[in-house]
Amino acid sequence: MARSGTLAALAFAATLASCGPARRSAEPAEGVAGAVAVKPGAASVAKTASPASVPISAEAHFVDVAAQAGLKTMIYCGGADKDHILESVGTGCAFIDYDNDGHLDIFLVNSWALDEQPSKVRHKGRNALYRNRGDATFEDVTERAGVADESWGCGVAAGDFDNDGRVDLHVTNFGPNRLYRNKGDGTFEQVAERAGVADRGWGAGSSFFDADGDGDLDLYVANYIDATMDEVLAATRTTLWREKVKVLAGPFGMRGGRDRFFRNKGDGTFEDATDAVGMTDTAESYGLGVLTSDLDLDGDIDVFVANNSNPNFLYRNNGDGTFTEIGAWSGAGVNGNGVAQAGMGVDAADFDGDGLPDICLTTFAQDSATIFRNEGGLLFRDISVETGLKGISYQALKWGCAFFDFDHDADNDLVIANGHIYPQVDNAPELNESYRQKSFLLRNDGGKLADLSGRAGPGMTREVSARGLAVGDYDNDGDLDLLITAMDSPPLLLRNDTPNLGHWLKLRPINRHGSPAIGARVRVVARAGEKPQTRELRSGASHQSQNALELHCGLGSAEKADTVEVFWPGGGKTVLRDVATDRTLDLREPGK
């Protein structure tokens, strides 16, 4: 339901007031208020006078710098043979600025290592928090920060649930989930039980969002499968994959976990309001990915849930804090052939430049990843074939995904992290599959996807069994980097070294409480009369992961943006004009 209430448009003077003093990203000042980063060397890059929408010639180049940046945590996920489906789903990751210093920190979710024969727990991996020192290297602050949990971790989502201006973390587990309240002194307090969100299921994707427009963040948690650790340890491989190799069973034949919706009571606690708001998961579907987004641009947040092998859910927000599930006939519940896919990760962005967020869904091997084109009114159409995505993605097993403009040519490209769940496919070369796979870097060429994966630098040719993926500019050079988790491996940190990039803007919508304005939407017009670009600030997405709570726009050759409009979750709007590019702006929601 649309909310009205547009605040006054601000002129250029207001822009300056809101931006604050400039500083170079290499010389970070304390605090982020008014932060402006300048991309080193950006001014020296020769630009043509082409419109912003014309692609800048850029050869993609990503380099894995995880080890040199100090990210050494081994991410575990079960035993070598992956006998149970719990050992297949992997863990997520997050770019967050937990200490509010303007530099993205990293949170890695970890699970356990299992021995085979006899099957037993060998090692309980711990989640890890890495603080960005400001020089693009990280220090492990896990213990000091109080987040060294040894649960079998799955996913992570960020948001300020208690409106104290600091970003908190929700971590899903195989077992009780955790809620880490950010105390603002570099440490966290685990409050899941007290807050009423220590759901004991097998949590997967989760997302904070303001479902009812009351100004605080509610929480959706997708639960995957009902299982016990005894079942995990006793599991044997019983499924014959493509008539060749015996592999783990499921999810078919297993009982799905019921998803949960927790309503924020406004006092730092939540209540389970799943049934009350119309989100009863009667299908007991195998929920994995969660996307919370205003998909019909009516001013409230809808919820898309990627279900593994069941039709996806699309919960339309009725505008009063209740939801109607319309996935099945919306066109986004099943693929264009009417078939429920093995949905894994999910993201949304305006892929085709029509102003509406389109959905990307990643899926199992021998099936296409899907882009559901948003045709308005929460109606979608599978455009995987016409974009070329089907041909590119069919063979791979796909997990984390994100739309992002890696080359600053003013459109949304796509990255997908891949990796099989069956190590046994390596024993049958005739299957033409591999457990470790390359990720996809797919450039948006006017609505067609070009696969750059093999020529996008050494980072994109790393073969791992990848799962989680998050996007953010960890080195504050203005382009978007990638964080990827992989099975039984340290993470990958793929620094974007693509040369000759176009101009950019990085926007940090901040609400009245001083925290990231989850649900805020920005519309950027590079030059008057050109198509606007839209971005939305979201908690949780991809595969069990959290992108940086910043909105990044590539602007091609435009040296300033004609207009930047911010649509605040509460209904107000801020307009900035003639915004200089190649910098980071803190956009503060005006007071009432």
């Binding site: 499924t239 034949g253 799905g256 009667t282 007991e284 319309i326 052939n337 009417g338």
Partner: protein, 178 residues
């Protein structure tokens, strides 16, 4: 499902009776233990097959229920301009239920049965056809549901009648014996 429980009880009772009867004094000496076992298993097989047939009929009746509801919503949409969009969305949901051979509650039941090894009514690993609705028919029904859902407040009576006729055609093709 309520038809299945009594049938299962009767079948189990019958099998139990047969087993007890085979042990009772006075049982014909001409019947070997093997023959008795075979006969008992034969009765059990009959019961299993009957239960599957009952399941077929039950699912068919469920589909007929969805179809009836969808058709009713389409008719209501034609005469109720005010509530048209709501009726169209409800009709779209029912048509999708036909396509998926069940709503979300039925899907959960199928998953539970699959866990117990019963895959008569599920596409399970194969992504093949359901009991009645083939993949091709499912696509047709999902397409129709999408068009019904987006027909909108301005849909004319003729438009809705056409959608209704299409539903009828697709539905009867789906439940017809292959």
């Amino acid at each position: 499902m309520r038809y299945l429980a009594p049938l299962a009880i009767v079948a189990a009772g019958f099998v139990g009776f047969q087993a007890a009867h085979s042990q009772a004094p006075g049982t014909s000496k001409k019947e070997s233990a093997g023959q008795v076992a075979a006969a008992t298993y034969e009765h059990l097989a009959t019961a299993i097959i009957a239960i599957e047939a009952t399941e077929d009929e039950l699912v068919k009746s469920i589909l007929i229920g969805y179809n009836t509801a969808a058709a009713n919503h389409l008719r209501a949409a034609a005469r109720d301009a005010q509530g048209r969009v709501g009726h169209l969305e409800a009709a779209a949901t029912e048509i999708t239920n036909i396509a998926n051979e069940g709503d979300k509650s039925i899907q959960a039941i199928r998953q539970r049965l699959a866990k117990a090894g019963h895959t008569h009514n599920t596409d399970a690993e194969t992504k093949g056809d359901y009991m009645f609705v083939t993949n091709k028919e499912r696509k047709g029904l999902v397409d129709l549901a999408s068009r019904v859902g987006r027909a909108g407040a301005d849909a004319s009576e003729a438009d809705l009648a056409k959608l209704g006729a299409e539903l009828s055609s697709l539905f009867h093709a789906a439940i017809a014996p292959e």
